[in-house]
Amino acid sequence: MKTNINKKRRRRNNLWGYTFTAPSAILLFVFIVLPIFISVALSLTDFSGFNEPTYVGFKNYVDMFKDKKFLASMKNTFIYVLTTVPLQTILSLVVAAILAEKFQNAFGEFIRGTMFIPVLCSAVIAGNLFFYLFASDKNAVINSMLMLFGLDKVNWLGKSDTAMLVICMVAVWKNVGYFLVIFYAAIMDVPKSLHEAARIDGASPMQRFFNITMPSIRPVLYLVITLSTIWAFQVFDITMVMTKGGPGTATMSPVLLVYNYAFTDHRMGYASAIACILAVVIFVISMLQKLVFKEED
């Protein structure tokens, strides 16, 4: 009897749960899940955006691996990820550690606040700002500063290597504040008693950082690296505003390529195929990261 009553109560509670989560679930399905399936379906067609899609099998996927622009965009993205992710992570971690260790005061708050401002700034504004800072003519800010010190002006956004460097710089500038706040909170969450005990035992700040802080914030470190990797693969706005993927294909990213193919070249089917491959790549890398962190655990 009691079991029946409990079952009924559980069923009623479950029903309430389903009712409240249903709108979100429906929205999630309609705007996230369903478009993914539609995108996969479109990737098997020659849909231009104006015509009715015609099935072409895996032709788009075959063409993709012969497409120099796609290959260049993937190469650029790996360079971008390998540059920005470590830089952002290390910089934000080091600054957070220093602030947590030495500056738990108004000055520390000021630094955290200041470094968070770029995060609030839209990527489009940031891109435009740095575009004018790094413009190639000698009147641009950076070039005029270089010439002030007797150096030659640099064609920052017109050369392959320097254009990518500038893009990475903008991304790091924009994202460091976000991860700094996350790391700071995590570091502050490490029990002070551990640090006290280590201090009494004669451990230096560096030893405490690597042997106490780092192991304690591992989950957060995993989160930061995963997030920043996924965001790096999705880079679009900065490259769109500053270089539009150029010069040549020097700063072309897969997402920008998808945008160009879909809306400028009217090759929605092909663009969908690239988007699918990108999703698979991001998924594989995320799984690999999870494995790495799990193994070390």
Partner: protein, 447 residues
Amino acid sequence: MKKIIALLLVLALVIGLVACGKTPETPNTDKPNTEKPADKPADGGNDAPPADSDKPYEGATVTWWHYPFTGEDQGYWDERAAVFYERTGITVETTIIPWGADGAAKLSAGFLSGTGPDVLYMTAETAYDLISAGHLLDLNGVVPQEILDDEIYLAKTATGDKQYMLPYAGGVSYRGMAFNLDLLKAAGVDKVPETREEFLAAALKVKEAGVCEYPVMLPMATAAETTMTSILPNIWSGGGDFATPEGEVVFDSAENLETLQWMYDLIYTHGVLSEDCTGIDTTAQIDLFIEGKIAMLWGETWPYVDRAAEIGFEWTTSLGIAPEGGKVMTFCPTDMVAVNANAKNQGAAIEWLKFLLSVEQRDNFRETNYTTLLQLNKSAAPITYPVDCINADMAAAGEHTRALPIVKGCSTMTTEMCTNVQLMMMGELTPEEAVAAIQAACEAAAG
């Protein structure tokens, strides 16, 4: 109780989201206050009006999509729609769509969902896809012949024997060259170059004299500038091309290789063109020209017209240069107007189209929106542009300008030309490699 309140809040959220999903109507405070009876159904263009009516389509509504020109476009078109309404009783609802990919996305979504415009301003990049998908109406036999006969550039917008589009904004930013005559004179150059040989000789003199920072500037920073301004005028003037009207890719030719080699040599052999060209956009180049830092450059027309008052030195323009014995050709966008094959009221749409093509409306558009608009009507009086050198160029424009062909993959082809020529100008490809890469990529785009 709490659960019920929470449930009600969730319902309110869902209802709010559903309500927000409705497309808001375009605000149109100048819209004439009139009742609109049901539109006449589209019947393939045979919706013959009552014989005794001088406003045969009174009460109909036409949707018109247009790109922005001045930033106050909605207000402008609402005024013109009011003028049109007085004459015809047809209400025109204007939507201003953004240039570039965002506008193309809106067109795509509109046509696929059946909410596309009745009359649309369109560019060559979207033309092929709209035509092949059957979205555009063949205007032959629908638009009165005398109107078609009055169009100077009718042939430029024909697709075989069909006329899906008509010229609308021709001449807008045709590409040409600008010359700082003071700098040229200071370097000992007395004649504005007309051939590549004269141009190179002048550039070398300017470089030797050291009178300015950039003897030559060729826009190479963005796709539109690179292809339309730097590549197409020079390959066409060199006697080459990238695609035939039938869609065959012909970029791999001796003429195009010669042209690309010539462009490459400007940087790497003669040193008259700075490697900065891949990093300085058109706006910055115009600024540098006005500051007297560039002696000769390629560019669009309208900035010189709009900023002529800022130029404090003697200057002139031309349509471009060609190899000795060749013919100067340059790019001139012939943006077009078309009618939706599924327009709700084709008759009313055609009336609006006729209004757009009239001398009166084109003159009005030129005066208020775009001063460098080409003369498009044979019956119109000759146009005088505010800058003398532009007048000479405009007079010759018809014979020396070309627009993009309406072929499959045209947009991709222009992007591929840009990408590979940029790589060439950065020294990462040789001219031969660039030609081969462009040919292969364009062939892939053409299917």
